[in-house]
């Protein structure tokens, strides 16, 4: 049980049930991995935006700080999407982003780049993360996708035990009572009751 669950007890009454032991939850492994990747995206994106010169120095890309900041902003977008209810789109957008990062790093693998070793290390890390992103996106898609081939037939579920036509007939024949109106007669309070209500 986490701190927030404990702390929220101040907003409840004494006799409200309180959590004693946590049980099975709706978040599966794929969801938790997606969340972790979402927060990772936001952390990485923010550091890219705030510390772009450090990145360009380490990778031999001086003068391309705005490119790094743009990548950072994009990364924050992936993170927000991955933490939202559109998580699948977020995870696949991370895979797309990885492809762009690999292309950018590959272009920095020039022979005349003195930081070529750093670029190679970064490239290896991005490749590993890409694999993780693909696994996360695939497992998440498999867990939450609706299989359109497995559609059950509900065409016999009318809800009218005596049949649809009998239901229509009942509506034609019934004198709808005054209470089945947007403002029912029973809602019209007597003048005396209304005076009491105004006095309250």
């Amino acid at each position: 049980m986490n701190f927030m669950t404990q702390a929220s007890r101040i907003a409840r009454s004494e006799s409200d049930p309180r959590v004693l032991k946590s049980g099975r939850g709706s978040l599966g492994g794929a969801d938790q991995l997606a969340r972790a990747l979402g927060w990772f995206s936001i952390a990485l994106g923010v550091t890219q935006v705030l510390a772009a010169p450090r990145y360009t120095r380490a990778l031999g890309l001086r003068g391309r700080e705005s490119l790094v900041r743009a990548c950072g902003a994009r990364e924050v977008g992936h993170g927000v999407l991955s933490l939202s209810t559109q998580r699948r789109a977020g995870l696949w957008s991370r895979v797309g982003g990885d492809t762009l990062d690999i292309a950018a790093l590959a272009s920095a693998m020039r022979r005349d780049n003195p930081k070529r070793d750093n670029v190679a290390t970064a490239l290896a890390v991005v490749l590993a993360i890409t694999v993780l992103d693909i696994v996360a996106a695939q497992t998440h898609t498999a867990r939450h996708s609706r299989r359109k081939t497995e559609v059950r037939d509900y065409s016999d579920r009318s809800g009218f035990p005596q049949g649809l036509e009998r239901a229509r007939d009942a509506a034609r024949n019934v004198d709808l009572r005054a209470d089945i109106r947007p403002t029912p007669q029973s809602a019209q309070v007597s003048p005396a009751a209304d005076r009491t209500s105004r006095a309250q």
């Binding site: 049930p17 959590v19 559109q86």
Partner: protein, 398 residues
């Protein structure tokens, strides 16, 4: 006891929690025999409704047996009574309750100070919902404390299965109220946007209230098939233009009565670019709801028609063509359901076998499987339309 507890966005757990206890002489404790996952529970699941707190017990559709009562029942409720619990908690005494406006009861919201600030004036307390409506523990649990229980109950007879009665607590009266708000005339075309559980009930209610033709709009084939079985003309918005089809069905004049059974989470599709923009704005907290259905209803509705809103909205909606609505002279009716205003009538219709609301149930599972069923229901997997949870029921018997 076991209960389904909200811990954060998309994080519902089947936790062990302490048992509820009588707190006020008007309280009762109900042993829950059946409860259900409602479409509006998904808004909480997605954390689109503000003021949920970790540790909140979910659920506002439930029924069971009274096992303990407070000292102020005045003969209204006794141990052993079989009851459906309405999702709106009401006192039965305030000026709103006397008018039958139970969902805006002035007494039962125990976080009134908070709700007054957010809504201008507080509405009724609700079970298993946000702290803006009192933060009362919900009924997806083995036991439930029912405040103001001398009024907040629907007594139901023995001999009718839970499945036929359970929905008297929410979706059946909600669909019914949506249709009643339309003031249906025998010549009317009633269009229902969203064929989820409330939409299904609204379709059948419109039939029972005598609409000439009823149309159901959705994109999920099995929901459309169920809507058609209930008497609606199905329209799949992924396959055809809603506006063109509705004009075809009404001689170019548009439907007189429009029901929104979708609410704040309209389906996102590139075919309706406003839904994509709404989702992006929602993600960056620039808008709280996705009101595509509202926009479409205002556009397509016949002048002097009625727009009835049963789907839940939480806060702010953008780009509503209000000038169009004003100039067309549309009437808007909406609100949380005044459940007990309608339940005597609906119970009679169930008893006389005019309607059997259990048609909508597609999955029945134990409480322990509840968290996973939130995913299945949300993802519309396994043709899921309505999930009933039975405390103590272990096997899936869908």
């Amino acid at each position: 006891m076991k209960a389904l507890v909200w811990h954060g966005k998309e994080d519902i757990r089947c936790d062990t929690v302490s048992d509820p206890a009588i707190e006020d002489p008007r309280d009762a404790i109900v042993k829950v025999t059946s409860c259900a996952i409602c479409g509006s529970d998904l808004h909480l699941f997605h954390n689109f409704i503000p003021a949920m707190l970790p540790g909140d017990i979910m659920g506002h559709e439930m029924m069971g047996e009274v096992v303990e009562v407070g000292s102020a029942m005045n003969g209204h409720l006794s141990k052993g009574d079989r009851v459906v619990v309405p999702f709106t908690i009401f006192c039965g005494e305030c000026s709103q309750c006397r008018r039958g406006n139970f969902s805006v009861c002035e007494t039962t919201n125990r976080k009134k100070h908070l709700a007054d600030k957010v809504f201008g004036h507080a509405t009724a307390g609700l079970f298993g919902y946000t702290h803006l409506t009192g933060g009362y523990p919900g009924g997806q649990a083995e036991y439930l404390r029912v405040p103001f229980a001398d009024k907040t109950h629907i007594k139901v007879p023995e001999g009718i299965p839970d499945e036929k009665l359970l929905f008297l607590g929410d979706i059946f009266p909600t669909g019914w109220q949506a249709a009643v708000q339309c003031d249906i005339e025998p010549s009317d075309t009633v269009v229902v946007w969203g064929c989820g559980p409330v939409g299904q009930m609204a379709i059948r209610s419109a039939i029972l209230l005598g609409a000439r033709q009823v149309v159901g709009i959705d994109c999920v084939p099995e929901r459309l098939a169920m809507a058609e079985a209930g008497g609606a003309i199905p329209v799949n918005f992924e396959d055809e233009s809603v506006i063109e089809r509705l004009n075809d069905l009404t001689g170019g004049k548009g439907p007189e009565k429009c029901i929104d059974a979708t609410g704040m989470e309209s389906h996102i599709t590139i075919k309706h670019p406003d839904t994509v923009l709404d989702r992006a704005k929602q993600m960056f907290m620039l808008e709280s709801d996705r009101p595509h259905v509202l926009r479409e209803m205002i556009y397509v509705c016949r002048p002097a028609g009625v727009i009835s809103i049963a789907g839940v909205y939480s806060g702010f909606v953008d780009k509503i063509p209000f000038g169009m609505a004003m100039n067309k002279g549309l009437t808007f009716r909406m609100g949380q359901t005044h459940v007990n205003r309608w339940t005597d009538e609906l119970l009679e219709r169930i008893k006389s076998e005019q309607i059997d609301p259990s048609f909508v149930i597609t999955h029945t599972v134990g409480l322990e499987d509840g968290p996973e069923m939130y995913n299945v229901f949300r993802n519309k997997q396994d043709s899921c339309i309505k999930v009933v949870l039975k405390p103590g029921f272990d096997e899936v018997s869908s």
